[in-house]
Symmetry: C2
Subunit: 237 residues, 2 copies
């Protein structure tokens, strides 16, 4: 029984939590303040149920502080908003993160002007959120993946194009990437749809794709899409 901590408790986190539970994982979601989270009565504007409504029918998911969740988890999933990620991880406490694999699916979107098509300037082009987390926590094995698509697709690849589209993976530790690939496979992503781009610095490319993702979403009104890399090499890209 694998034990997973999910940093965050929004709709993306809920999608992961539900999926991991169905896969037989034990899951604790981490949030800033458990009481406030359960008492929250403002909907998110995307038609999602209140957290408490979702949580009441997901009783096998545990809920704790960031610190409790990180202590609980063998693997940490960062699904916080990019601008808050380091703060959430600080609340989780380094000793609860060290030597663990941290799967970073967050993006450093800049929401300071509301709806965004831009990244936080300090985390774009020559730096990235994945690198910032890796530099802040050198004893954590950060693996960047799944940040290039709508959360429904992350956990349900088959809903689109017969499942034939791509996910990227980046990180400094080949061993950690190997373990995360196993998790991706359990989520439904076969080897030949996973593109290993290299070290955590290469994650810059995946984060910088977000402005294009957001423009495609804006132009088509549809977020249920993904990239398929087509090439002149039939066996792989």
């Amino acid at each position: 029984m694998k034990i997973t901590a999910i940093m965050g408790a929004g709709s993306v986190d809920q999608a992961y939590a539900s999926k991991f539970i169905t896969l037989g994982y034990e899951v604790m979601m981490g949030t800033r303040n458990v009481t406030e989270k359960l008492a929250g009565n403002v909907k998110d504007g995307y038609g999602n149920p209140l957290f408490s409504e979702w949580y009441s029918v997901s009783k096998t998911v545990k809920l704790g502080t960031f610190e409790e969740a990180a202590l609980f988890g063998e693997i940490i999933l960062n699904v916080t908003m990019g601008v808050n990620s380091i703060n959430a991880l600080k609340m989780a406490d380094e000793k609860n993160l060290n030597r663990k694999i941290l799967i970073d699916v967050a993006n450093p979107l800049d929401f300071k002007n509301g709806i965004t098509t831009s990244l936080l300037p300090e985390l774009s082009n020559t730096y990235s959120l994945g690198e910032e987390i890796q530099q802040t926590y050198p004893d954590v094995r950060v693996v960047k993946t799944l940040n290039t698509m709508w959360n429904g697709l992350m956990v349900n690849r088959a809903m689109l194009n017969g499942g034939d589209h791509n996910v990227f993976i980046c990180g400094n530790s080949s061993e950690a990437k190997g373990k995360v690939k196993e998790i991706l496979k359990s989520l439904g992503w076969p080897d030949n749809n996973i593109i290993d781009l290299g070290d955590i610095i290469s994650g810059r490319g995946t984060e910088m794709y977000l402005p294009l993702w957001l423009r495609i979403f804006g132009a088509t009104g549809n977020g249920v899409f993904n990239l398929k890399i087509v090439s002149n090499n039939e066996s792989s890209v």
Copy 2:
């Protein structure tokens, strides 16, 4: 007989020039110094022939200064390196550009440290090359397109995946985008493979995709790939 100026005379420009000639266009390529360009005897390292060798078998292509080419062209194609684009257009002279459509296929890659995976910081995230050209030349109708793929694919879509992959188009003038779509069609791109992202600001997304393009190229050793946007909407993305 349409008359096209191509700003630049490198291998990408040559691919365009050859293609436009076969389509019955008159083409003049613009360069900084015609004599030096023809006398150049340093190969580009990618196995391409010297410019003079290519040019000697492409006699129907005209060669002139940036100014002569811009004066000659009804449509301007910017295929210069992004870091040089504004300088090249200054040499072309504003009066030779005004009221024309400028198709911007360049990217603001930052080569100052050699091989690059980054954009010029001043032309990334909250600004872009397409916007810089549009702001510098408000009477030019800038249309950003074709900058998201290897040049061989730009002019030969069918070589990959039965031709089923995507190109983006961005610009402030719907009329200009309509005319550029006709050119894209003549290059082999049908309507349903062209994704209109909106105004020239939306071109930021296409330029910011380059770091991911470069990482995929680096990881796979193959530049002959492109994006196909797969979605849950069969008729379009």
